[in-house]
């Protein structure tokens, strides 16, 4: 059923349709509307779940770790500092192979404190073992939650999934969303069932110490599973299309890439703006395109190679930084083409939209303009020159 609905409320409804047994969360802007809505659903008996209000994000992640370990589908959501406060639990959940789904309402990291959108939070946890899926719009954010549980709980995967949606832009934006029925969701996502759980009839120890003789294989196993996800995710999205009627690739989405001379690579909501600019420029005969990365972890290197190998000029947008080095997404896109015969002549990277700085259509046009034969590294877009003149001298 189509609804005109705020992103957070839409995601909360998607989570409700997934029937989690335990939800635990701690408030942080801009995640709050999601968990407030879920709390209301529990209070109104529209969702049969235990809602555990905790004293910190560290405990929110720990609570869902514990509930998931009993074999109960569990959910949490956070953002920014909250995700960082969870960080050791986030790594722990992946290491323990617990298929939790979390929404990250992407927000900048302090200092300076800033509640607005960029993607530094989830990008910084890219090495945790979690799958990270980035949504372009509210519909995709909704759909990715069904796909996330389906993927996480697959017997061959058993890894947690983070659905990343740009804070405010998607969490507080309002769009028309096609909300699936409970029957559709139940058909796609069966009840969670695992033998690896806390059960007094079958006592098991979980979270053991692994010394030098065993530790490395546990990390290798997760790495191997990420390779499996690259194969499985397109199948799961194909199954999704059959039931829900919406088609996603799951790994990347190509928009006007085939004959493009210049292609932007990006994650998240900025892709909508880029598509609009592409439509405009195409109408003027400019051959431009977009490669949207949906799955940042696992990183779809092969799909990126296939999409960009014949594109002369590529601009990678990073809504995060790795201060002192190359911005995260761009360095990985560049790595895809190491020692490859077919590759773009130029891969430039642009740092955009940090701390909620608007990325306008003009910003995107500027990037297409700057994307020339000269390769640019960590090119910050939309800086204010007047602010850069300020000095620390007394």
């Amino acid at each position: 059923m189509k609804e005109f609905i705020e992103g957070s409320l839409a995601v909360a409804e998607a989570v409700r349709l997934c029937s989690p047994g335990v939800i635990s969360a701690y408030p942080i802007t801009p995640q709050t509307h999601i968990v407030e809505e879920l709390a209301s659903m529990v209070a109104d008996n529209k969702l049969n779940a235990q809602f555990v209000n905790v004293e910190s994000e560290h405990s929110a992640a720990s609570v869902v770790l514990g509930s998931e370990a009993t074999g109960t589908r569990s959910y949490t959501a956070t953002s920014s500092q909250g995700l960082f406060y969870m960080m050791e639990v986030v790594f722990n959940i992946a290491g323990m192979r617990l298929p939790i789904v979390m929404t990250c309402a992407n927000r900048a990291i302090s200092a300076p404190i800033n509640i607005w959108n960029d993607q530094q939070d989830s990008i910084s946890l890219r090495d945790s073992g979690w799958v990270q899926l980035f949504a372009e719009d509210i519909q995709e954010a909704v759909d990715l939650h069904f796909i996330a549980y389906k993927l996480a709980e697959d017997k061959s995967i058993m890894l947690p999934v983070m659905v990343c949606m740009d804070g405010f832009i998607l969490t507080h934006g309002i769009e028309t969303v096609d909300m699936p029925s409970q029957e559709q969701v139940d058909k796609y996502l069966p009840k969670y069932n695992t033998i690896y759980k806390l059960d007094v009839t079958n006592p098991m120890s979980m979270g053991l110490l692994a010394g030098p003789d065993y530790y490395m294989e546990t990390r290798y196993a997760i790495e191997e599973t990420h390779k499996d996800i690259l194969k499985l995710l397109p199948k799961l999205t194909a199954d999704f299309a059959k039931i829900f009627g919406r088609t996603y690739n799951g790994l990347v989405e190509e928009y006007q890439v085939k004959d493009a001379e210049k292609v932007i690579v990006a994650l998240g909501s900025v892709c909508g703006t880029v598509k609009e600019v592409i439509d405009e420029l195409r109408s003027k005969g400019k051959k431009v395109g977009l490669l949207k990365i949906t799955s940042y972890r696992p990183f779809p290197a092969e799909a990126i190679y296939e999409a960009l190998k014949n594109v002369p000029k590529v601009a990678v947008l990073d809504r995060a930084v790795s201060l002192g080095s190359f911005a995260p997404v761009s360095s990985e896109v560049k790595a895809v083409f190491t020692n490859k015969k077919k590759k773009p002549q130029v891969i430039s990277n642009f740092v955009v939209g940090l701390g909620g700085r608007d990325i306008t259509k003009e910003s995107i046009k500027e990037i297409f303009k700057l994307l020339s034969t000269k390769e640019l590294t960590n090119e910050f877009i939309d800086l204010k020159p007047e602010l850069l003149k300020e000095s620390y001298e007394q």
């Binding site: 635990s24 405990s59 514990g66 509930s67 120890s205 053991l208 010394g211």
Partner: protein, 298 residues
């Protein structure tokens, strides 16, 4: 007494008070128990992959989050309709309880989960090499509160964890000791008979960290109680319901049994301060047996 809930063959040190107490606790709680363990000695010596000493469902996540993980285990079991008849124990050492895990523990106590939290108090970070914790007693020589030209050891008294737990208005709070096994098991059973959050703090000597002979664990634990330095007390719904009464022994008897207090041997001034701690406990909790009543005050 069943012995398959916490099996022999683990790698605890000889004379480890914590391993004794952990076995007593799980055996008192029984087979239908799930255990959530903080990182620490107990976790390390009982569950080095591919072995485990535990015959009950057991989970370890991190150093400071057992109380929160246990809260999630409880929520999961309630959702599954499996909570009735299942005991949940969250447990950890003094550092993971009183220092780094205090926030998670406070959250668990405040939210009213039906969980017993057990703090095995060996009065320092033993797993990392005897560093001072919030439950290290006054004047203790540890690796981070070393004795020196201008130091007689740890500068602060123990954090009052039982009172802190009790201030949450929970069902049951008790202290216990590896020196009094039956008392410890009775308290675990009592705790499990009550709904809601429970907190038991067990004094567990560590021969390595306290520097006493491994055969002396029980004697040292008993002396802590008998001097008044580790009062055994019980609160139910906020009210003090019982204390173990003693014929108070001078604190020197306890101090001289351990290397961690060796530096106090010729320092009557410091010993006097420690005697004052014991005297305060004796006064506060009415620990002293009066001539006519030679039994535990109920």
């Amino acid at each position: 007494m069943s012995n398959n809930l916490f099996n022999a063959g683990h790698t605890a040190c000889a004379g480890c008070g914590q391993s004794m107490a952990a076995r007593l606790v799980i055996e008192a709680s029984g087979q239908n128990t799930m255990v959530v363990n903080n990182t620490g000695c107990l976790e390390v010596f009982s569950t080095a992959y591919p072995q485990t000493a535990w015959g009950v469902p057991w989970i370890h996540s991190l150093f400071e989050n057992a109380a929160a993980v246990a809260s999630g285990v409880e929520a999961g079991l309630i959702y599954l309709g499996k909570k009735e008849g299942t005991n949940i124990i969250a447990q950890g050492g003094d550092g993971s309880t009183a220092d780094i895990g205090l926030q998670a523990l406070s959250g668990m106590l405040e939210r009213g989960h039906d969980i017993l939290y057990v703090c095995y108090d060996n009065e320092a970070y033993m797993n990392t090499g005897v560093q001072r914790s919030g439950l290290t007693p006054f004047d203790t020589n540890t690796t981070t509160s070393p004795v020196g030209a201008r130091s007689t050891g740890n500068v602060r008294p123990k954090k009052p964890m039982p009172e802190i737990a009790n201030a949450h208005g929970i069902a049951y709070v008790a202290t216990a000791s590896a020196g009094f096994p039956q008392d410890l098991q009775r308290k675990v059973k009592k705790a499990m008979s009550l709904k809601g959050p429970k907190y038991i703090q067990v004094h567990v000597p560590c021969p390595l960290g306290w520097r006493h002979e491994s055969a002396q664990t029980v004697n040292v634990a008993k002396l802590a109680v008998e001097t008044g330095l580790y009062p055994l007390i019980e609160y139910e719904n906020g009210k003090l319901i019982a204390v173990r009464q003693i014929h108070p022994k001078p604190v020197e008897e306890y101090l001289k049994a351990q290397g961690r207090f060796k530096h106090l041997a010729n320092n009557p001034e410091e010993i006097k301060k420690i005697q004052e701690v014991a005297d305060h406990n004796i006064e506060k909790y009415g620990l002293k047996i009066k001539a006519e009543t030679e039994e535990i005050k109920k």
